[in-house]
Every structure is written in structure tokens, then in C-alpha cells.
């Protein structure tokens, strides 16, 4: 537990010192959700219907932006190899880094969603569900993007293909998350998709770090 917290604190401290970098995905999120109405020109009724999808896709893309370089600086300055050689299991290190970056970039994004949802005329009654759905979906999302980051860690311009690698894998998250939100919008029971999101999160957090650690070991060679 202690090494996990040490790593989380280290990464949070570094991110705080580079706050402008941490703010980028957040600003990206806001800009993209602003561009959609411009492009779609929805009527006042339509805007509520598209709100769910727009917010979820924007959140997905912003997470991609936030996490695709998760291992890059550690690989470049050699601290990743030191962590690999240390008595701390690489899976714990990976979870620590994912947790730190989730706290710094994803959590603020989730906090911002209710405001943007209101701008899309979504009723307040739907907001808690969207909040829970995002809280359950973003850990899995973070694990998947971290996997993409790990697979491309040795590459000079690896960031470019992380999206291609990872986004198809996130389809189930998008499906369950948007459906849960839509059910809430129409006063239908939301437990089903939320439980499924929780199950996926458990699966991802349990198995993801293994795959990510394996990918890092190959990439660092």
C-alpha cells in the first residue's frame, strides 16, 4: 500500500507543477462539447437527445488526450526502468500512475460534466446517474488508454496510433454509459448498465496492469 501511495503522491506532485499540461484535456473537453451544437444545429428538443452522446464521446477523447503520454516522461528520463527494477511490483506502479492521473485530469472532467449537461438541457434528475456512470467507466477507460500508452512507449511518435488501438476497445463502455444516462433521462431503471460498468471496471483493474506491465517490459528493452 505504501509504495502505491508514494507513487501516486509523486505523480500528483509533478502534475501540480505542470498544471497547464493537466488543464489541456479539460479545455479540450469543453471546446469539443461546444463545437458539437455548432456542427449539428439541433433544435431545443434535439439538443437534449444528442447531449448524452456528445458528452460521452468528448469525455472519451479527452481521456485519450490526457493519458496517452502516461509513461513517456518516465521512459525518457529513466525513472521507469528504475521502478521496474525496484522491489515494487510493476503492476502496482502502473496502478499508482493511473490513479494519480485519474485524480488530476479525469476527476475534474467528471466534475465539469454536470455544468455542461445542463447546457445541453439535460434534466437535473439525470445528472447523478451520469455522474455514477462516469465514475464507473473512467477507471476502465484509463486502464485501456494506459495500455495503449504502454504498447507505444518505445516509439517516437507513438501517441498518434494510441487512439486507433484503444478506441475500438472502449465501445462497450460507451454503450453502457450512454444507455445508463439515457435511461435516467427517460425515468427508466438504470441499475443494469451501471452494474455492467462496475463489472468491466473490476475486470480491467484486475487484469489490465498485467498486460500493461508486460507491454512496458517489451517497450523498454
Amino acid at each position: 500500500m505504501a509504495p502505491f501511495l508514494t507513487i501516486v503522491l509523486r505523480d500528483v506532485r509533478i502534475a501540480v507543477r505542470r498544471l497547464s499540461e493537466a488543464a489541456n484535456p479539460l479545455l479540450f473537453f469543453i471546446i469539443v462539447t461546444t463545437l458539437f451544437p455548432l456542427a449539428l444545429s439541433p433544435s431545443t428538443d434535439e439538443i437534449r437527445e444528442v447531449g448524452t452522446g456528445v458528452l460521452w464521446v468528448s469525455a472519451l477523447l479527452s481521456s485519450l488526450l490526457a493519458l496517452e503520454g502516461l509513461f513517456r516522461s518516465d521512459a525518457e528520463d529513466g525513472s521507469l526502468e528504475q521502478l521496474m527494477l525496484s522491489p515494487v511490483p510493476l503492476g502496482v506502479t502502473v496502478l499508482g500512475k493511473i490513479a494519480a492521473h485519474w485524480l488530476i485530469t479525469i476527476l475534474p472532467l467528471i466534475a465539469l460534466v454536470p455544468i455542461l449537461a445542463l447546457s445541453y438541457s439535460m434534466p437535473i434528475t439525470a445528472l447523478p446517474t451520469m455522474f455514477y456512470a462516469l465514475l464507473l467507466a473512467t477507471p476502465t477507460l484509463s486502464v485501456l488508454v494506459a495500455l495503449g500508452a504502454a504498447l507505444t512507449v518505445g516509439l517516437r511518435r507513438g501517441g498518434a496510433i494510441v487512439g486507433l488501438l484503444v478506441l475500438p476497445l472502449t465501445a462497450p463502455l460507451l454503450i453502457f454509459g450512454t444507455r445508463a444516462t439515457d435511461f435516467a433521462l427517460h425515468d427508466e431503471p438504470t441499475a443494469g448498465p451501471l452494474y455492467l460498468l462496475a463489472a468491466l471496471a473490476a475486470l480491467a483493474l484486475a487484469l489490465g496492469p498485467v498486460a500493461i506491465a508486460a507491454a512496458l517490459r517489451v517497450g523498454i528493452e
Binding site: T6, R10, R17, R18, D77, E81, M84, L85, P87, E221
Partner: protein, 201 residues
């Protein structure tokens, strides 16, 4: 507590870096790896540390391969390559504290920093240090773990004569205390002592 290499060969693609390497290092013994640039010194050291895989052959430290050491033995190997392993946005002291908490040996940071003339920059972020200071900070971490095997890749680059002297002193002290070391260097004479194994690539 031995480092053993048996029939070690490394090919990168079709290029043979070295093959059939066979040696054994006992406690208090120093192994020096020499060779021209690009001859495979760094690769050999990374294979010994467990960061890279050999094409064939085996490396063992205390009987297990270095990349599959049980967690409690991980702290026994300290590897310092060309990269410093320091976070540029953290201060010297913060880097040392992090390293100590990961590798499990909190000691007197002030004394270590003093020895390497880093006392004045203890609270400066690594990105503002000179190359020599960064190198010294990276080597300072050697004293923060209880490693028995030191694998160092050209440790004295970027160091002035003072710093070089310090590090050489540390290495000799480490060996005298029963440790083992494998060091890649362009100047084997400054480190050579009796019983040193010379590996020429």
C-alpha cells in the same frame, strides 16, 4: 552471492554484439567492461540487470535470472545507466526521498548530499542543475539502497575530477564491504585493482 553468465549471446536483428560470454563474479570482485562505442557494453549491462533479454545463454544472480528475481531480492541489484532516473520537476531532495521510500532505506540525506557537493542545491529542481550535478544526484541514490551488486554504465561521465574521485572511492568501499560491481568504462585503469575481471567486447 554470485553473478554468473553462461554462454551469453546477444544479437540485435542480424548483428552479433557478443556471443559465448562466460564469467563469474564473486563478492568483492569487480568486473570491468571495455570496448569501443557501439560494441555492446550498454546492452550487456542491461542484460545483466534484467532490463533486456539475451538471445541465448543465461545470467543468474544468486541462482535466479535477474528479470525474475523474487521481490525481496530485487533490492540487491542497483543499475545506473546513461539515463539519470530522476524526475526533472522534483527537487534533488524529493528525488532522493522518493528513491529511498521505494528501495527501502531511509538514511541521512544531508550527509550524502554533502559528500557529493550537492548540499547547496538540495532544494533545486533537477531541471535547473548542470549535467554534472544531475549525474551526481543520480549516483547519490546508490547509497540509499542496500544493493549488493552495482551495475554502472560509464558512471564517471560528466563528472569533474573531484566527483570522479568520490565515486571511485564509493565503488572501492562497496567492494571492500563485500559487494560486487560490473562497470562499463573507457578508463579501466582508474578502477582496476587486484582480482578485477576484464571483459573486452
Amino acid at each position: 552471492m554470485e553473478l554468473r553468465a553462461r554462454e551469453l549471446s546477444v544479437f540485435r536483428g542480424e548483428r552479433c554484439l557478443f556471443e559465448g560470454l562466460d564469467f563469474e563474479l564473486r563478492p568483492q570482485q569487480l568486473g570491468l567492461v571495455v570496448g569501443a562505442n557501439g560494441s555492446g557494453k550498454t546492452t550487456l549491462l542491461r542484460v545483466l540487470a534484467g532490463l533486456a533479454a539475451a538471445t541465448s545463454g543465461r545470467v543468474t544472480w544468486r541462482g535466479s535470472a535477474p528479470d525474475s528475481l523474487p521481490l525481496e531480492h530485487r533490492g540487491e541489484i542497483a543499475y545506473r545507466g546513461h539515463l539519470d532516473g530522476l524526475k526533472r520537476d522534483l527537487t534533488v531532495l524529493e528525488n532522493l526521498r522518493f528513491h529511498a521510500s521505494i528501495w527501502g532505506n531511509a538514511t541521512d540525506f544531508a550527509a550524502i548530499l554533502q559528500e557529493l557537493a550537492l548540499g547547496a542545491v538540495a532544494n533545486v529542481r533537477v531541471r535547473h542543475l548542470s549535467a554534472g550535478q544531475q549525474r551526481r544526484t543520480s549516483l547519490a541514490t546508490l547509497k540509499l539502497c542496500a544493493a549488493r551488486l552495482w551495475i554502472l554504465d560509464e558512471p564517471t561521465t560528466n563528472l569533474d575530477s573531484d566527483g570522479r574521485g568520490r565515486i571511485i572511492g564509493w565503488i572501492r568501499a562497496h567492494l571492500a564491504a563485500g559487494g560486487t560491481a560490473v562497470i562499463a568504462t573507457h578508463q579501466p585503469d582508474e578502477l582496476k585493482q587486484s582480482g578485477t575481471l576484464l571483459v573486452e567486447l
